[in-house]
Amino acid sequence: MQIYLPIAETSINIFVLLGMGGGVGFLSGLFGVGGGFLMTPLLIFVGIPPTVAVATEANQIVASSVSGVLAHWRRGNVDFKMGAMLLVGGVIGSTFGVWLFSILRSLGQIDLVIKLSYVVFLGIIGGLMFLESSRSILRSRRQAPPKRRTHNWLHGLPFKMRFRRSRLYISALLPLTIGVFVGVLSAIMGVGGGFVMVPAMIYLLGMPTSVVVGTSLFQIIFVTANATFLQATMNQTVDIVLALILLIGGVIGAQIGARAGAKLNGEQLRILLAIMVLGVCVKIGFDLVLTPDDLYAVGGIGSH
């Protein structure tokens, strides 16, 4: 059944869209990533203009993140204090990122920068997570005691704060800095930033994996809500009909994903996320290197 999308200005099969929303929503609930790094390329692949895909997907992620956060919150797996710190940094970072985005666009190479940052960040994060989680799975098989967290210079930073849910007593500067960095990336790459945020919270802050997912989703709600509003007012590229179809699939998928996530252990979750991140990285990397079918393209600013 075809449906005409008023802002995207094209007809797409409604079941294809529902399926995409459900699939990405499931991964969102499972891993605590917004899913933007999967959904944006998928939408462009089925024929949605890139500008509409980026903006609409931000709106859809708001819905799936709200649904995911509520599911995690009921299990007490959201550290709101930590989330607020990350968010303050995120707002500063994304404001700077939007400014950087417009400079890169005026230089005419924004889509190359977007693709390269996808390859670089997905590659580094996916690779590190894959190595670390496969090593810890091997270690737990050998029944060796887990390595104790050691104190280093990061624990000597000022403005110490207690994060009860995360069972951490660390400087507020740490989540703030991570928030700023992820904010810059999310503005340039057009994603919520969960796939950077989640590993940063695990490896840099040392948060327990169970709390990481809910807290990351909590922060993503606000980052993507801000992006949706800015895109709607500045570019009129948010397609409410497309978003509605995607989020019907998305919210249901996120609920199932959160349940499935509760059954898997931290290492298994991380190794699955790592494989997925690496897969997208390789795909985008190949697109950059392989000779395109047609060297000429119409338009193309900001496309992934």
Binding site: P6, S11, T228, V238, V241
Partner: protein, 253 residues
Amino acid sequence: MKIRLTYTALFTALLSSLIFLTARPLVAAPVVADLSEHSVAITTDFSGSDILLFGATQGVEDVIVIVQGPRLPRTIRRKERNVGIWMNGESVTFDQVPSYYAMATTRDIDSLLPAEVLESYGAGEEHLIITPALGTDPSIDVTAFREALIRNQRRVNLYSQEPARVEILGDSLFRVNLSFPTNVPVGEYSVRILLVHDQKVISTGSTHLKVGKAGIEASVYNFAHEYSALYGIVALIIAVTAGWAASVVFRKA
């Protein structure tokens, strides 16, 4: 409207056959033709649209029909390989590119009219007047970019040219079915009709149609453009409500 069209067509058919029979050297009379509908309404279940163009041949054997959509600027970029990576290199912006172009004819276009005549009527993609914007680097080979533009438009079904689409009925009427794809751009369209005989254009005529969003599609589009801040807020309210509703439903389940 359909009844009126049929009467007009019949009347013209009779009249033109009369002219055809009595006066052998063709008289240039204005083309009489009409569309089955003058608007394409894009609604939620829009999956393309067919419109019938019907008219009198005035005794000629060949008819050319050209449909053009609103003209818009378009930028074409060429990818170049640098250190193994494909990146955007040269680009050319063309002013006034027809967003839609379809030509239907009775026969192969090149056998109908000489090239310079085709050119003067903008008949055929290769004869379209598409010029680069002012300030385009003169050292760039614009032809390749122009061809790429046409190739890209063809790929997304926005440009087409098909011989043998126009049917001649009897010896006095012609008929062609104009198909518009789902991604048809909105705006005012012109439909030009050329009656061709003996390598010459005997008569020309034109009509127009409007492609526009209708119903919910139009309301959403206008809301997004006229009250964009409110639209953004509504989009967020829908998203948050849907997320909350889903989690409530699932908790009970």
